[in-house]
Symmetry: C2
Subunit: 147 residues, 2 copies
């Protein structure tokens, strides 16, 4: 990874909607050179896309939790991620080493909604759940180390 590309990626991680004009000034290249580099980073898959960063609280989803899940019957096929994929409260699903099989990151409006979601998760994937409620989020979504 080259110096200029790193600068471009850092700038776009911080503000994904800034103009190529601004980007060009920051990295010290012409607009078209920056444009070409961004195109290449997109095509190489280093940049996977762009997303608005939305405020969960403002969207009415102030409650975040981690839900560790484990199959009730470990002999059954393990297709929990697919079975849970259309529950929109689930932001992420990680397959993990250790006692549990998957770790889910979920966002809900209230404890009542969390209770309902946990029931849905257990039913949909035939799993036991262990939930860790998030009390506050000192920081989240920080840009990855670019080197």
């Amino acid at each position: 990874m080259e110096e200029t590309d790193r600068a471009i990626l850092s700038a776009l991680a911080d503000d994904g909607r800034q103009s190529y004009t601004d980007l060009a000034e920051k990295v010290g290249l012409s607009v078209s050179a920056v444009h070409q580099r961004v195109r290449r980073l997109e095509q190489r898959g280093v940049i996977r896309g762009y997303a608005a960063r939305l405020d969960h609280e403002a969207l009415g989803l102030p409650l975040t939790a981690f839900v560790a899940i484990r199959p009730i019957d470990p002999s059954q096929p393990d297709d929990a991620p697919e079975r849970l994929a259309d529950l929109p409260e689930i932001e992420a699903c990680y397959s993990v080493a250790g006692d549990d099989f998957y770790l889910l990151l979920v966002r809900v409006a209230s404890p009542a909604d969390l209770e309902r979601l946990l029931q849905e998760i257990r039913k949909a994937a035939n799993v036991a759940t262990r939930t860790t409620v998030v009390l506050s989020t000192p920081y989240e979504g920080r840009p990855p180390q670019i080197r």
Copy 2:
């Protein structure tokens, strides 16, 4: 939250860099009406910003882990998040209910780097760590439920 705003937020969560022209077509309004709504959503803090979604593997950070931390000495002031804030491998820090105090999401290049990072975390914040390695990520960063 109004129907049109929800459509705008969904579209921008999916592609944060699309033009107002495209957005306007999707939500069935004029370009300037969409522009004004987006401005308002930004000012209200519903849209907190825009970010490029970067590929950790392409950036040379193929190893993800969750690190639960707990103070060695619970009588000391609890300022772990600030003490850990300048470790760039830490993408997120959640304060959680339960046995642990904080849950960190970290990205590193290798098991050796994870080992080094854990030592740094323990030293910087005077904490014990319990680490859960992520084996794969069925999905991550899905858009929040917008209603």
